[in-house]
């Protein structure tokens, strides 16, 4: 069970922003994508979700080609998405946001039991408007909403953005738990070095829209300076 990208190129019309991307994300694996601002990290995830035009290459999930499908069909095929800025529906309740997530696996009614045991705070606040949650709670909601659709791979775009350090740590532990216990593959775009280094099995460095280097997670945890040097931070 894996997501396979081969020679992927994507952009907004005036030449590709990312090109020649070859990458696999397997079940239960966390792959982090790092790079400086403007290197194409968000474009990569948007292209996988059908939001940015794919100009070349292929994307397949368990052998099923996705690169020509519209966003809703990609979600139904098994890709969950937590975008930058979370994009929760602030005027809807927490329960309604979670129910929306379920339409990916149950397009007609979205009506199914959803296990909220790893998100106790969301269970308590199910009837509350999502816009009234704190930043960390909103991030949990965005992750829970993506999981509600029973995805095989989850794409997360900077889940630590605007969230306090203790919550970032909790999110990191949650992602590790999801990968280990539910064998969900995770493709994580992250600016925060600590989170990516702590939890990723592999870390990919993106430079000018291309993969410049791939680091093994365990080696990187022993010597994070290698990545720091390449990032120039």
């Amino acid at each position: 069970m894996s997501l396979e990208l081969r020679g992927l190129a994507a952009g907004y019309g005036a030449g590709p922003i990312i090109a020649g991307i070859d990458l696999d994300v397997h079940a239960g694996e966390i792959v982090a994508v790092m790079g400086r601002n403007g290197m194409g990290k968000t474009t990569l995830l948007r292209a996988l979700m059908g939001e940015t035009r794919i100009e070349g290459g292929s994307v397949s999930l368990d052998g099923r080609r996705l690169e020509r499908l519209p966003s809703h069909a990609i979600a139904r095929a098994g890709l969950g998405y937590v975008p930058q800025g979370r994009a929760i529906f602030k005027d809807l309740t927490v329960a309604e946001n979670l129910r929306l997530g379920q339409f990916a696996s149950n397009p007609k009614t979205g009506n199914r039991e959803f296990d909220l045991s790893v998100f106790p705070v969301l269970k308590e606040r199910a009837r509350q408007r999502a816009g009234t949650l704190s930043g960390g709670e909103q991030q949990q909601l965005a992750i829970a909403r993506a999981l509600a659709g029973d995805p095989r791979i989850v794409l997360l775009d900077e889940p630590s953005e605007g969230v306090q350090p203790s919550i970032v740590e909790a999110i990191g532990m949650l992602l590790q738990r999801l990968a280990a216990e539910r064998t969900i593959g995770i493709l994580l775009v992250e600016q925060q070095l600590d989170l990516a280094v702590d939890i990723a099995d592999r870390t990919v460095l993106l430079e000018k829209g291309r993969i410049e280097a791939v680091f093994d997670g365990r080696e990187l945890r022993r010597d994070p300076q290698r990545l720091v040097d390449r990032l120039g931070i």
Binding site: P83, A87, L100
Partner: protein, 287 residues
């Protein structure tokens, strides 16, 4: 006392009739941001649907049931052939639906002629209300308007379709990334708006002369209702209908129809100046 009660009933009747006509417009404009200039013609198609069924089968009720289905299907075809190409083009959408309104009107003239026709009401009795006789069919219209508002609210607040539609309005791209087919939501929302217009036309047909221009009389109050009330939520248009319909009927009765028109337009101008998003959208904030 009698005169006051009749005025109150007439006002309520007109307000609810405006709501009945406006609700389809609210769905299409509020959810899809399409100013549907052909709404009056969808209304008239509903009236002609009931006319045709009544003439062919002798049943008003069958006509009332078939009108929203027929006009809803017309709406579906219109969405697929025209509307889907102009969703993000505000002015083009106005022009396209205006063109459609002319097309539908002229098609009706060709099929049925320009003359007025009559739909017979299913019952022609009056009920005594506090000692005053009032036509039962007008009370039926009022009840239908309330049922339609309740059903529309229930559809959008308590069904999976409503949840998908509200998510699509709030953030179309994110809704799609959650597996919601936003194109299908657009298609069915437009068809629903058309069906509501058709149902309104069928319900109103017995108290109007059915002719190719009948949509215009209610279209302007319906648009003013949306402008005044706003479309932030479904309560806005209800308030707008109360102001537009209520003001029109009361001033028409107390002063004159011309004074009523002046009042309604003046109110619309003042509200748009102070509340650009309508009353439901809140007041303009000074910088």
């Amino acid at each position: 006392m009698d005169a006051a009660l009749i005025l109150l009933l007439d006002t309520t009747n007109y307000v609810l009739a405006v709501i009945l006509v406006a609700i389809g417009l609210v769905v299409i404009f509020g959810l899809m941001r399409i100013i549907n200039m052909a709404h009056g013609e969808l209304f008239l198609l509903g009236a002609y649907a009931v006319l045709v069924v009544q003439q062919a089968l002798g049943s008003f009720w069958l006509g009332l049931l078939s009108a929203p289905i027929v006009v809803g299907l017309c709406g579906l075809v219109i969405e697929v052939l025209v509307i889907r190409f102009v969703y993000t083009r505000f002015l083009d959408a106005i022009l396209a639906t205006w063109g459609l309104s002319i097309l539908i009107k002229q098609a009706v003239v060709l099929a049925f002629g320009p003359q007025s026709q009559v739909v017979t009401p299913p019952f022609d009795v009056s009920l005594m209300l506090l000692g005053t006789a009032y036509p039962a069919y007008r009370l039926f219209i009022m009840a239908m308007a309330l049922v339609l508002v309740a059903a529309t609210l229930a559809l959008f607040l308590a069904t999976p379709f409503g949840l998908k539609a509200r998510a699509t309005i709030a953030d179309r791209k994110m809704a799609a990334c959650l597996g919601i087919d936003t194109r299908a939501v657009d298609r069915w929302t437009f068809a629903l708006g058309a069906a509501l217009a058709g149902f309104a036309g069928a319900v109103m047909a017995p108290i109007m002369s059915v002719d190719p221009y009948m949509g215009l009389g209610f279209l302007i109050p319906a648009f003013l209702t949306i402008l005044v009330g706003g479309i932030g939520n479904l309560w806005g248009p209800l308030g707008g209908a109360a102001i537009v319909g209520g003001g029109d009927t009361v001033i028409s009765n107390l002063i004159s129809p011309v004074a009523a028109q002046i009042f309604v337009l003046a109110i619309a101008i003042v509200v748009i100046r102070l509340f650009p998003q309508g009353l439901a959208g809140g007041a303009r904030r000074n910088r």
